[in-house]
Structure formats: C-alpha cells, structure tokens
C-alpha cells in the first residue's frame, strides 16, 4: 500500500496512470493495454467505447487484478488511498466486491450453474461482512428486490438455468451491489440480452446509480447503450486510449474510427449505396401452416410436470428470394420456430411445406446459429468445417470438395491460405463467415439465420450484413432472419413478423413497425430507440 494523500482530492475515487498489460504467449509478448490514463470521482460515470479486441475487457480486469497468470501489469491503479497493483492479497480481496464490483459480460456464464442464486449472493455478503443466517437472508432478499425482482424468495432458491436472461442479469447486478461498492464496472452488461430487456436493465442501472451514488465504468461497443448513463466516454483502439471526452464532443470529431463506432449505420451505407432491392413477387417457397409445439419440464424430486407452450398455431409464408424477419423478445418462441423450420424439432401439430412438398429435414434448408463460438467444432480446420456438408452428402471426389471449400472461403471474404487453421483460432466475425460458407456449401434454397449477429460489434454487424446481401443476391437465396434487434432491419427484410409468447402478433412491412399499435411491437421499437445513439436509426 502506498498512501498518496497529496494528490488525491476527497472526491477522487479511482486514478489510473500509464496502465500497461502484456500477455505472454510462449516467448511472444502481446500488448493488450498501452499507457492508459483515466480518472474517476465519487458518483461519476465513464463509458468505455471500442471495437472488439481493443482492450476494453483487459482494462476492466486489470483494475481488479483479475487477469490470467500469463498477463503482466504495470503502471498505477489507485482506488481511494490504495495502490491496487501493489496491494497485498488480503487488501485486494477486501476491495473486490465491497469497494469495486464487476458485472461480467455474460450473466449466463457469470453465475455458477449448480448453486442456487441466494447462496451465490449470500457468499459475497459473507466474504465481506459478518452476518448471521437471518441477516444474510434478509439482505439478499433486499438486494434482489432492489434490482426489481419481485419474488426474491423464489429467485433465491432458483438455479441460474431456471431464470430468464434478464432475471439472471438482474441477479448478477444484485450480487455485485449487495456489499454497496463505491464503483461498479460493467463489462458489456447488455450484450447477451434481447433489446427490450436491455432497455430495462439500462433503466435499472440508471436508477441504482442515482440512488446509491455509484461511480460506474460502463464498457460497451455501442455508444447508444450508455449515452443516457455516462457523462464522458473513453475511446479505445488497439489497447490505447485514443480519446476521452463527452459524447457530444466525440460526435463532432472527424476521426473515422470514432465515427464508425458512433454511427455504424453510416459506415454501412458507405459500402452499400442502395438498400438491397428485394424481388417483388415470387412463388412462396416456404409455408408454415398452423404449427404448434410444446415442451414438458419437470420439477426436482417431484412428479409434477408443467408444459411450456413454445409455438401456438403459427402461420406464415416466405416468397422465393425474399427475406422475412421474425422478431420478438427472448422466450417468444422464435428460436423454436427456426429449429422447426430447419428440421431439428418436429412440430406437435401443423405442417411445414417447402417448395410445395411437406418438409422434414433436407440440405435445402440451412441454419446459421446464434452462438458462433460453439457452432463450429474447434478441432476442425477451416476447410474441414466448410466441406463437411459435402463430405456427408458424398458429392464429387475429395479433391473437388476441397476446391469448392476454398472457393467458398474466398466468396465469404476469408483468405484461402487459412484453410488449415483450426476454427477456434478465428475471431467472432470470421467464425460467422465460416458458418455462412458451411451453410452455402450444401447448396441451400432457404437460409435460417438465428440471431446471426449477436455477440458481434456494430461495425462487424454492418460488414456481415453487406456480405449476406451479396450472397443472397448471387445465389437467389430465401432467408428467414430471427432476432430481437431492429438495427438495419429495413435494409434486408421485406416482411416482418412479430412474435410474443409463442404467437404471431403482427405481420407487417419494416416501415410499418413504427406506427404499430401492438404492445409487443411498441416495446421492441421503444427499446431499440432508447439503446441506439442518434444516427443509428433502427427503422427508417
């Protein structure tokens, strides 16, 4: 500990000077952060903005010294009077959770899957304060109520997989705030939530910040997410802080990198001069007729079951060459619909007709999955991933299949020289390209995209979208796009179907969303408006 009373004013909470983080891979040193400076007072909040890989998360973890053991940190991180980088383990442990708390990116992954929520929050409380069992229960229930969970007793007993994404993130926030920290670091707290839940969580963070006089560091690739929360933003690029100013000032800079982060749609438009023209009227390729599906679930150690109605009499059709967008909150049944169309699930009743024939499962329908990270076998090389559908169909001889795989790599904008790299070495955007190439290899007529861009930053989303539109036009593909995000919607979708609780509640053109009176649609539009900075116009 090095007390530094001369430089710290009473209001100052966190001071970072010359913070550098290096990772060592074998003998190679890779710099993740270089000479980052920042200052934060009590109750102040700072947004950290940057593309993926710009060092945002390294910054968050370096502040709490949570980096993996192969990372080396230098510089100064001073929290109140404590020099965190040189603090003893005990001091550091006392500050983690009680002085500075961290909310990690994925609430699904940040909560222990085999422990009930109440115990996970209670353990944090007990690590910092001596409380008896009763006090612990009351404090945990209070923390859960504070984050807007109305049935704290039920949530305390529940396991993470029994909660929705929004409830999990709320529980994670309760866990972070139960010891009343002075500073909250939120590392992309919204990225895995649907748009409507994102808006709710953001509103919650804003209320809590005001009530508890929390200082906050809010990390995101989307400036819209924190425009209402933070006074200033720090812009990161390649591990360096390239700018630190208010959002209004940032909006006026000419720097293309900052403009790209603030106005990704503008960047998208630069590369794609005209919005994609959709063919007018084709024959319907896919018809879904009165499809229903329900799932049974059991409670622990009891024989009672309860049914979850995932789909209820869904009717829709998609014309050849057109794109239909299916939007809705998480849990609205859109992924189940996608899986039924792709043939992974069979509906309980109703039928799915593809090109006039009853369809069950065929290579003519290909699906691109929500989570690219897990949808590719990490042991396969790029070429193996792409040629797998060809290998299964035993089309042509192996050499020809390999050649086709390389052509496809080129088509989706991947360097064919990378064919022998294992798929886990590719970045998120590149993996999504690989998944697209694999889907194209099967020669599909219909492409089902289940939240294909979740987890990608906005600039990458724009790039991927452009690629998708090119590919769609070239192969005359029909697409079904599943998502909760309205960004870019009007550029690729001809029709939009809004789903809520397993039903289709609205069927309209993208332009009609804004004037809709259906509550589920209004919720999505409003949430989308609140989250995107001016310029990121969701629905034109």
């Amino acid at each position: 500990m090095t007390p530094n009373p001369t430089q710290s004013t009473p209001r100052q909470l966190l001071r970072v000077r010359d913070l550098c983080v290096d990772y060592r891979f074998a003998s190679v040193k890779v710099a993740a952060l270089q000479n980052v400076d920042l200052e934060l007072g009590e109750g102040e909040s700072l947004g950290v903005l940057g593309e993926s890989g710009s060092g945002k998360s390294s910054l968050a973890h370096a502040l709490l010294r949570l980096l993996p053991s192969d990372a080396s940190v230098s510089g100064l991180v001073q929290f109140r009077e404590t020099d965190l980088l040189n603090a003893r383990a005990k001091t550091l442990r006392e500050i983690r959770g009680a002085g500075i708390a961290l909310i990690s990116q994925e609430p699904a992954l940040a909560l222990n899957p085999v422990l009930p929520i109440g115990r996970q929050i209670g353990d944090v409380l007990r690590a910092h304060e001596s409380v008896n069992r009763r006090q612990e229960r009351d404090r945990v229930a209070g923390a859960l109520r504070e984050v807007g969970l109305t049935e704290p007793e039920r949530i305390m007993r529940a396991y993470p997989h029994q909660l929705s994404g929004g409830q999990r993130q709320r529980a994670a926030i309760a866990q972070a705030l139960v010891c009343r920290p002075a500073l909250l670091i939120a590392d992309e707290p919204l990225s895995s939530l649907d748009t409507a839940t994102q808006a709710e969580v953001l509103e919650l963070l804003r209320t809590l910040k005001a009530e508890l006089n929390l200082a906050m560091i809010f990390i995101s690739h989307n400036a819209g997410a924190f425009s209402s929360l933070c006074e200033r933003a720090l812009v990161m690029r390649n591990g360096r802080a390239v700018a630190c100013a208010s959002l209004e000032e940032l909006a006026e800079t000419a720097d293309p990198y900052i403009r790209g982060l603030l106005f990704p749609e503008a960047a998208f438009l630069d590369g794609c001069k005209t919005p994609a023209s959709q063919p007018q009227a084709g024959r319907p390729l896919l018809e879904v007729r009165s499809v229903s599906k329900r799932f049974m679930q059991r409670r622990a150690l009891s024989r009672s079951k309860f049914a979850v109605q995932a789909l209820e009499h869904i009717d829709l059709s998609v014309d050849e060459g057109a794109t239909l967008a299916v939007i809705g909150r998480s849990g609205s049944g859109k992924s189940t619909l996608a899986r039924c169309i792709a043939g992974f699930e069979s509906p309980d009743s109703g039928e799915i007709v593809l090109a006039g024939r009853k369809h069950e499962s065929s290579p003519q329908v290909q699906m691109i999955f929500q989570d690219v990270g897990t949808a590719l076998n990490p042991r396969f090389t790029a070429a193996e991933v792409i040629s797998e559908p060809l290998d299964i169909a035993r089309k042509n001889d192996p050499l020809e299949r390999r050649k086709r795989a390389l052509d496809l790599m080129e088509e989706v904008g991947l360097d064919p020289d990378w064919q022998a790299r294992p798929s886990h070495q590719f970045s998120g955007g590149q993996r999504q390209r690989l998944a697209l190439a694999r889907a194209l290899a099967a020669g599909p007529k219909l492409l089902v995209l289940d939240e294909p861009f979740s987890g990608l930053d906005l600039a990458l989303q724009a790039q991927m979208l452009r690629l998708l539109l090119e590919v769609q036009a070239r192969h005359r593909l029909t697409c079904i796009w599943i998502g909760h995000d309205l960004s870019f919607l009007s550029y690729f979708a001809r029709d939009v179907v809004v789903m809520d609780q397993g039903r289709v509640v609205e069927h309209t053109a993208p332009q009609g969303l804004r004037s809709s009176t259906v509550p589920a649609t209004r919720l999505l539009v409003e949430a989308s408006d609140r989250l995107h900075a001016p310029g990121v116009e969701a629905v034109s």
Partner: protein
C-alpha cells in the same frame, strides 16, 4: 424420477443377463470341463465318469444347461461347485463379503484423500508445488499394482509391524475386530495407493477447468476467500464428471483388489476366481463373474442417483 431409475435398473439387469450368456459361451468354447482331468486318472472307469457327467448335468445341450442355471439364479443360487462339492452361493457370499471389506474402505479413503488434495492441487497449478504433485501422481500411476502389493509384503516382512498376508491371526491378542483391522492395513493401503493417482488427476483436471470458468473468476472478482471459492463454488461445479468417475472407480478398485488379494492371500473373490478358473469349476466362475459385474453396476447406479441429486440441470427433461 421413478421412471428414470426404473430405466437404469432395467439396463443393469440386461447387462447382467448379457454377461452371463457371454460367460456361458466362452466357457463352452474353452476345451475340456471339470471332469476332463479325471479321465487321465486310471482309477476312474469311463462308466463312472459318464455317471458323474450325467449327475452334474454336463451331458445336456448348452441351451438346456443355461436354462437350468437361470432357474438356479432365479432362486438366488449360483449352481453347484464341483471342486468344493457344495452350493456355489455358500462359497461365494463370504468371499464377496471379504472383498467388500477391502474395497469399500479403500474407496472411501481414496476419495476422502483425493478430493481435498486434488482441489488444492488445482489451485496450485503452475507453481513448483503443482509440478511436484504432477510428478508424484505420474510416478504412482506408472508403478504396477502387483509391485505395490509386493512392496507392501516386503515392508511387512522386514519390519514385522504388519502381518504378511492373510485375514486373521491364529490367536488374536487384541480381540477379533482389532486383529481384522490390523490385517486390513496393508491391502487397503495398497488399493488406496493404486487408485489414488487416477482419482487425484481427475479431480485436479475437473476443478482446474472450472477455476478458469467465467463464474469462478466472477466470484473471485466479488472478493470471495480462497477456501470457499475452491470448495463451495469450484468443486460443486466440477462434481459432475467426478461423480461418474466414482461409479467407475468401484469397478477399477475391484479389478485391482482381485490382484492384491491373490498376492497377499486375502480370502476374497480374487483367489477363488483364479482357483476355479484353473479347476474349470464352471458355476463358481460364473457366479464370481456375475458378482464382479454387479459391483460396478451398483456403482454406476449410485453415481446416477448422486448426479440426479447434485446437478439441477439433469433434472430437466425434454
């Protein structure tokens, strides 16, 4: 839940049935039977042999003999031992009890040592202590179990602290239970040393995987102390593969036990199985094989029950 275990139980019965059928066929394929050696004895006439054969039912066709044996099993017996001239079950049950006397304490002791040690070793990964640990377990893993058993015997012989083999002294000086425990020390110790490195390595691997997971790092970020972090958060999350291993380790211990028993002349199933195979004592071999199939099956069933209770996600059903 009842259906879940009903299905598991049904599978176990199927496996037992399959094993018995296989053993019957294999025995049949091996040349000769219990009476073959008597043929070489000039004092026994071919007529007498023929009568004996009919008496044991060895002249009947295979399916009939199998059906006959099944009807025995249905009555809770295992047939008749030719060599000992008594019902096989009377021979098998005490031997099985003696084997359990070794394997159950060995199982408990190895897991009680392996879990805390493995968790701590996972936390020490990358330090010199961790490397020492890796070296130690690799060494133990490489030493054959027979050698361990022989080493134990040598220690007993040199120091005179422990009995050299056997299960009971002729004249126990401290009471029968203490005498039994004193005889158990070396075989149980050998079994523990034999199974410990495998379990330890699995515990360490499973826990170090969860230690690098997001939720354990998040818990660390909330300032949890080291021990609660390891034992309350990381261990339950890593328990899943370990519980399955618990079931498998019963089978593993049993196979090592058969060997150790033979070397240390412990009157368990190991020596009996060896003798009866050599003597072609058909029904005893069958019974011993069935019992040694039963143990791992029971282990797996226990593991399934534990998993069901332990992991909230397994209780979900499609």
């Amino acid at each position: 839940m009842i259906r879940y275990f009903g299905r598991r139980l049904f599978h176990a019965v199927l496996v037992l049935f399959g094993v018995s059928l296989l053993m019957f066929l294999v025995q049949q394929a091996a040349p000769g039977d219990f009476l073959s050696e008597m043929r070489l004895n000039p004092q026994i006439s071919p007529q007498a042999l023929h009568t004996l054969r009919a008496q044991y039912g060895l002249d009947q066709p295979l399916p009939l003999r199998y059906a006959h044996w099944l009807s025995f099993v249905a009555r809770g017996e295992f047939g008749y031992s030719f060599a000992y001239d008594m019902p096989a079950s009377k021979l098998l049950w005490p031997r099985a009890r003696n084997t359990l006397l070794l394997t159950v304490p060995a199982l408990l002791i190895s897991w009680l040592i392996a879990v805390p040690l493995g968790v701590l070793a996972a936390a020490q990964r990358g330090t010199w202590l961790g490397r020492l640990f890796s070296g130690g377990t690799s060494f133990l893993l490489a030493v054959p179990d027979v050698l361990l058993a022989l080493l134990a015997l040598m220690i007993a012989l040199r120091t005179g602290l422990f009995p050299v083999g056997g299960m009971r002294s002729a004249d126990p000086s401290h009471g029968r239970l203490a005498d039994l425990a004193w005889h158990m020390v070396l075989p149980v110790g050998t079994l523990v040393l034999g199974s410990l490195p495998v379990i330890l390595r699995h515990v360490r691997a499973a826990v170090s995987e969860t230690l690098s997971s997001c939720y354990v790092r998040a818990a660390e970020g909330h300032g949890l102390r080291q021990l609660p972090l390891l034992f309350r958060h990381a261990l339950p999350a890593a328990a899943n593969p370990l519980i399955s291993l618990f079931g498998i380790s019963i089978a593993f211990l049993l196979s090592v036990s058969l060997l150790v028993e033979t070397v240390m002349s412990w009157p368990g199933m190991g020596p009996l199985l060896l003798e009866s195979i050599l003597a072609r004592d058909l029904f005893v071999v069958l019974g011993a094989t069935m019992l040694s199939t039963l143990f791992p099956l029971a282990g797996n069933l226990i593991a399934d029950v534990l998993l069901y209770g332990f992991d909230p996600r397994i209780r979900m059903e499609p």
